[in-house]
Subunit: 231 residues, 2 copies
């Protein structure tokens, strides 16, 4: 890991062409040849970058580049796509290298699969007398998140999303259409379950006779584990 702070211009050519005018920026060069160009703002996305696997070549500046004020020129190229990033360094304020080693990586919790697990475990959230039938029930057009039976034994298909948009309703609609062709399952009703359901999605769902269910992640987690959280 090499960190350089310098005034520079950057030129990218690949899927698109883009350039950065002269300004002072932070250049992060990683061990896999990738490079990030960051300014003091924005979010985690760099102003410009090159993804790994890439290789950096330190070039002699051409006369033209020297006249423009460049003291060093880096050419970073992607090994497969041929995308190229050219950095013209003018004044270098800092240039340091560090040994970081391999990172153990991020440990996550709380994504859609976890919501699905918890809803499967707490299937009565859907209503009294509900029983879990299947998870990830495979159909020709994809897996239905949850199939359950209500207190009358009727089949219920559940689509789970973190944020429920119209696309999720469309997805569930396609599943319901297919499942209702199966005489062993029909009639199948639908439940659209999400941490947050957008108004348009709710309208569309209810218009199609699909029930909407807002999931409270924290509450479900509370029910789920009496074991205290590890951190």
């Amino acid at each position: 890991m090499r960190l350089v702070v310098a005034t520079c211009t950057v030129q990218y050519t690949g899927r698109l062409t883009a350039h950065l005018p002269l300004a002072k920026r932070v250049l992060m060069l990683k061990g896999d040849g990738s490079i990030l160009v960051h300014s003091d703002g924005g979010s985690y996305k760099p102003l410009n970058w090159m993804s790994p696997p890439a290789s950096l070549e330190e070039c002699e500046p051409t006369e033209e580049q020297t006249d423009a004020g460049a003291s060093r020129v880096w050419k970073v190229t992607h090994k497969k796509t041929g995308d190229a990033l050219t950095v013209q360094l003018h004044e270098v304020e800092s240039d340091q290298s560090f040994e970081l080693g391999i990172d153990p990586g991020l440990v996550k919790d709380g994504v859609e699969s976890h919501l699905q697990e918890m809803l499967a475990d707490q299937i009565e959230t859907l209503g009294d007398g509900f029983r879990l039938w299947r998870r990830e029930y495979m159909t020709a057009i994809g897996p239905v998140d949850i199939l359950a039976q209500d207190s009358d034994g009727a089949t219920v298909a559940v689509e789970i999303k973190r944020r429920g948009g119209v696309d999720g309703v469309e997805q569930l609609t396609r599943y319901l259409e297919l499942l209702n062709r199966d005489p062993k399952l029909a009639p199948v009703s639908g439940v659209f379950a999400a941490q947050e359901i957008k108004p348009q999605a709710r309208t569309l769902a209810e218009d199609r006779g699909i029930r909407c269910l807002v999931l409270d992640y924290d509450e479900m987690r509370g029910v789920e584990s009496n074991v205290p959280r590890l951190f």
Copy 2:
């Protein structure tokens, strides 16, 4: 802009909970209170981060944290959502600050809007005698990229994508369905134009009577501007 290299652990709670075990990493603290945690690998996405607007509070480590080896503790909190990132710093190898100033920002070229502009200007790319009718023609379900007339005066709807997938074909199909309900426009035929059209998308489009057109970006740009490129 403050750059810190240190062994640390990181804990995030917000939309999800996640943590990073102890390892040496680069911490980038920006002027807007945001922070990025990078390792020597991966792509431009940090292992963990906090988006602006955020504020950093340097805390005294609790006895427990001191026992675990933490010398300093940062609490970075998002001002609106309440998301929190806690960094426990153990050994600090480097800690430097730099004044970067406001960045002039990235100048882009070659995106979909540019393709659309160029195709509108070079509408005969679609065929001899074609004339431009409308750009961004608004309908109830969204804007149609281009409406043109062919040499016979029939209406042609064009959907432009950089990379043409099935979703783009679906989109165009919806537009065509709607436009063909308008007796003033019908019959409307479709053209799916993209720099690259995926086989599945091509099959679907042609199956629906939609013509596929691969756009050569460099060639179009060559036609577009006799002015030589600036870089």
